[in-house]
């Protein structure tokens, strides 16, 4: 397999069909001359003069939509003074037609009239066939029957009516009839029949033209019917019986005849008009139906024989005629092989039938490789390895942060405790080694090395974490020792300053004490003298002075005694400080609220972050996906096919390509 991406493939196959045979088909000779009527005056085409006999005071015009010839004839007679009665279909109005200016014009309308026809005196004609292409001059009996049909519809079925009032027509609901018009006899030579009735050829009839439907069981020699893809099975029986099945756009309504009798059945949605042909009319119809036709139904045609000719075929069940095609391209349905390895050689098991008119056929089809279903998710194994990798990265991150904090701690210790510089040199070397190991582990991923390799990597990481923790402990211990030494020195200096100050202050205090005691004794003696004088003194004034002096001396003596006690205490305190030895008092350790968490300077490595290592390794190629309990190995390139098949087998997965867009 080359290194091509795995995408949908398009394949082709070609077949030669010139020997193919058509069982039955309508053949349209496109080079045939345009159809020409061979009929005589009984079957005259529209546009010929309309010659009347008898009274022409009253004109009955039955007007089917799309017929202008009958209207023109009626208008001509109306302009000559005749009263014109029009039986038309709803929505029709004389406005804009030649009848508008006829003075005496009465119009009644209904949903549908069965035919276009004209009755003037003893003369009557019908316009019939496709686009009213034919005008049939009626025999007296036919004219009488047609007139009665006109009357019946006019009086019984019309729904609205209008007459000319200064050239304007205002249609109002049809007024009630003045009498009953007898029903048309079911065997009348012109009669209305239900819309569903078809023209059944009489057993003696040899020619028929049916615009729709099939003839009865009559032994026809020639059948005209519009080509279609329907009913060719029934027509095949007629062909086998020797009947010529043909068609051309002669425009006749349904017709059946043997040259002596016959019938016409005009088209209609609600009711149809059936007319029994007279002998002359039947003969004229026979001449029409014996004429040439551009279409014919044939059997057993080898299509290669018509290659390059101006013909069309209308095949059974086809919607329309078609010419031969030199080549037909058939797009076969897209294939979806189950195995990726089957994609390059996949082909349909059966081939669709080509057009019967195709001389060559080319099949094309697409092959779509199996793809992982839309909505498939990563397989749990992928997630498990991803968790392992994520835990691995998280532990590496923690270790890296710890190691990085070690550098900061070491730098701060170096600045604070210059005396530790030599020790810190050792710490820096250890830290450098740990960084090297960390970088090596960061280059690895557990998922890339499989279960065994992943275990090894985790062991290495565990050791690295321990080393970093030990380094942190050492740094912490050295820092604590340096901090105690500094504190001790500070306390000793402070003690020495205190002793020195006490020694310097003690003599002054002793001198003050002696002076105070002397003053006290002097005051005591003076007091005793006053006491004595008071006892002896008789003079009140002098006695009073002595009493005041005694009070004053007593207060001074008490004050001097109190000051002497204070000085004694101060001197005792100074002597105690001078005698006291130096004692180191460690600094109190600040305890956190939860000593356990903050007790460690370096956070513990998150060993449990790493989930259990999966038993299976990830595939070497492709992506492992899972959908509805099934495991898929997705590859994108044919070059991974063989390795992918092995990995898919190992992992019990289907080998597929990526999902379709």
């Amino acid at each position: 397999m080359s290194g091509d991406p795995i995408v949908r493939l398009q394949r082709t196959r070609t077949e030669d069909r010139r020997k193919a045979v058509l069982e039955t088909a309508w053949l349209h000779n496109l080079q045939a001359p345009a159809w020409h009527s061979p009929a005589d005056e009984l079957f005259v085409e529209a546009g010929q003069p309309f010659v009347t006999t008898g009274s022409d005071e009253v004109v009955l015009l039955m007007l089917k939509r799309g017929t202008s010839a009958a209207l023109e004839h009626a208008a001509e007679l109306g302009h000559s003074g005749a009263r014109v009665y029009v039986l038309a279909e709803q929505e029709w109005t004389p406005a804009g037609t030649a009848l508008k200016s006829v003075k005496r014009l009465l119009v009644r309308r209904l949903a549908e009239v069965p035919a276009s026809g004209l009755v003037v005196g003893d003369t009557a004609a019908l316009w019939c066939g496709k686009a009213s292409a034919w005008r049939l001059a009626l025999t007296p009996a036919q004219a009488t029957a047609f007139r009665q049909i006109f009357l019946r519809i006019f009086w019984h079925d019309a729904v609205d009516e209008a007459w000319s009032t200064d050239g304007r027509f205002k249609f109002t609901p049809a007024q009630v009839r003045p009498f009953d018009v007898p029903e048309i006899a079911i065997d009348a030579c012109v009669r209305r029949v239900p819309a569903g009735e078809t023209l059944r050829a009489h057993h003696s009839h040899t020619h028929a033209l049916l615009n729709a439907g099939l003839p009865g069981d009559a032994s026809l020699r020639r059948l005209w019917m519009p080509p279609s893809g329907l009913q060719t099975g029934r027509l095949r029986h007629l062909l086998d019986a020797g009947c010529s099945v043909t068609w051309d756009e002669c425009g006749l309504p349904d017709t059946t005849t043997d040259g002596r009798t016959g019938a016409l059945l005009l088209a209609g949605k609600g009711m149809r008009l059936r007319l029994e042909l007279s002998t002359d009319q039947a003969a004229a119809a026979l001449r029409v139906l014996d004429g040439p036709a551009a279409w014919s139904l044939l059997a057993g045609l080898e299509i290669g024989a018509f290659a390059g000719k101006q013909v069309q075929f209308w095949l059974p069940a086809a919607a329309g005629p078609s010419a031969l095609s030199k080549e037909q391209r058939i797009e076969v349905s897209t294939l979806h092989p189950a195995e990726l390895r089957d994609v390059p050689c996949a082909a349909p098991s059966t081939w669709p039938s080509p057009s019967a008119l195709a001389l060559n056929v080319t099949y094309t089809w697409d092959v779509i490789p199996p793809a992982v279903p839309n909505g498939a998710q990563d397989d749990p194994l992928v997630g498990q390895w991803r968790n392992v990798d994520r835990g691995w990265e998280k532990r590496l991150g923690v270790v890296s942060n710890a190691l990085m904090s070690t550098s900061g701690v070491r730098a701060s210790i170096g600045q604070a405790f210059k005396r530790l510089m030599s020790a810190l040199m050792g710490f820096e070397r250890a830290e450098s080694r740990l960084w090297t190991e960390l970088k090596a582990l960061e280059a690895e991923r557990p998922s890339a090395v499989g279960p065994v390799g992943a275990s090894r990597l985790l062991d290495q990481l565990g050791r690295l974490e321990d080393d970093i923790g030990k380094l942190h402990d050492d740094l912490e211990r050295a820092q604590r020792k340096a901090r105690e030494d500094v504190e001790r020195e500070r306390q000793r200096a402070e003690w020495e300053a205190t002793v020195t100050a006490a020694k310097r202050e003690l003599p002054a205090k002793a001198a003050q004490l002696a002076a105070t005691r002397a003053d006290e004794e002097q005051l005591q003696s003076q007091l005793e003298a006053v006491e004595a004088g008071l006892a002896e003194e008789e003079d009140k004034a002098a006695k009073k002075d002595l009493k005041a002096r005694r009070h004053k001396l007593s207060d001074q003596a008490k004050k001097a005694s109190r000051k002497a006690r204070q000085l004694d205490q101060q001197i005792e305190g100074l002597q105690r400080r001078i005698k006291a030895p130096f004692t180191y008092r460690p600094q109190p350790v600040l305890t956190a609220k939860k000593a356990g968490k903050a007790s460690r300077f370096v956070p513990a490595a998150p060993k449990k972050v790493i989930k259990a290592i999966p038993e299976d390794a990830l595939p070497a190629v492709g992506a492992l996906r899972k959908y509805k309990g099934r495991r898929y190995l997705v590859i994108d390139d044919w070059i991974d096919l063989e390795q992918g098949e092995a990995e898919a087998a190992r992992l019990n997965a289907e080998l597929v390509t990526r999902e379709r867009a």
């Binding site: 009253v58 009665y85 006109f150 009357l151 007024q175 009839r177 003045p178 009498f179 009953d180 065997d187």
Partner: protein, 544 residues
Amino acid sequence: MERFAVFAEMAWLERRPEIGLLCRAARENGDQVSVALVQSVLPGVADAGAANIIQWCQLLEVCDSQGGLTALGEDVAETDHAPVPEQGVYSCSMIAHPVLGRRLLAADRLAPSRDQRFELVQPLRLPPDLGVTFTSARDPSERFILRSLPSNHAEVGVLRQPTQATCRLRWTLDFTNEEDIWRLDGSIDAARTLLPIRHDGETADLELWKLAETWGRGPLSAHGRWLPETRELAVPFTQLSATEQESFHKSLHLDEVEVPGLGRYEKVNLEDVPICPASADDAQQWAFSRLLRRLTTQRRYRSRGEIRQLFASLTEETPLEGFQPVLPHHQSLVADDAVSDDEALYWSLVASVDLSPFPTDLDDLSALRVGAPAPTPSPTAAGLVRVPYRGGWSMQRLVDALLGGALPRDILLCDRYVRGRANLVALRLFVEAIRAVIPNQQLNVWTREDGADFQAVESLTGRRPRAYRQMFGNGHPHDRYVLIRPQTGEAFGWHLTNSPLHARADVAEPNADTPLRWKDLAGSRVTPRSLAPALRGWLEGGAQ
């Protein structure tokens, strides 16, 4: 109206049943009040007492001096109300007119007073009628009689009183019913107010047609010629309004008329005077005008037969019939400007003829002279039946023509209007004519149920009729049909242009052979195939 106070002797009619009893007994015993009669009515009364009672009756004027019951006595016998005489001064309201005489409409008793107003007393030259029972115009239950007006030197003096009262005489002469009634209306004085006059109407018993004849020679001659024998006023057509043409009556305004003996009257309205054409031309125009009016006011398509029938119905049994007006030939009719200029009318007439499904000789387009027998039609073709107008056909003749010699096994008459007394008489004749061919033959009838008396029809035909709705649903036939299932041969039917039940007899008890008056009726024989499904089904034996 005069109002005055007068001294008079009056009598008020009051309820006195004993006198009424006496008068009734007298009326039953030769209109004579005798002692024996009084004693029979009042047992135990002595002769002298009875004579005394008779004397009182004479005083009351219920009987004359001979004991004969007077007109007042007859009235007492009828009403039990007898006059009670009294004298006094009365306030009277009086009117005077040739029709009603000098009549007191009200009389009120006045209290005596000494107001010394002799100079205000005036003579009453034409006093009220004496002895006449007047009815109060304020209260018709109050009746009174002015018995006398006592006075000195035969000169009645009254004290005239002012009044705002009015009184009008309305006299209706009903020539048709030969009765005249006059009534008073207006207002009359009451205590310090006016009350409407109450009057029930009275008659002058005129001979009205003699009066009309008199007027015909007088004021009516300005309007036409009075024909005493027909009691109609012959008028020219040009003077008639549409309403007068249709009603054959005319209201006239006469400046002055005289009722012999009862006065002359001005500005008289003579209403609903029967009129007739003054000439044949007037009759022709009149008839044609009525036809056009009916055609334009009731617009619809009408067959020629319906036009003929309509023209006949608008002229027969009217004053026009005697002049035998003529319905013009169809071509002339539609060529008339009144028709041809009206598009809707024109088409309603011409389309029905142009687009008729019947053979041309069934549609009689010729002129029709009303009241005169139609010319004998040319021999009708086979399968056609035509009853000529006024041809004197009997029902039997029609039935024979319809049967065509076949003996019917079953017959159906399909006619939308088998109702009304006259139509049922014709139906009876139709059944009798059939039974003259096949005794006890029953007749099936299909008709509209609205207004039809199915029980009456069944009693005539022997079969329960069927309703159109039941047989045809909503698609009712317009025409009439007679369908015949013969005992032998093919069933057939007749499509009729009119109903055979429209035939009318001029005698009280016609029978099937009685010549009848027919409206246009023609029929064409039809086969089952050309009939509506329900009729075809019956004719082919599918429906009973």
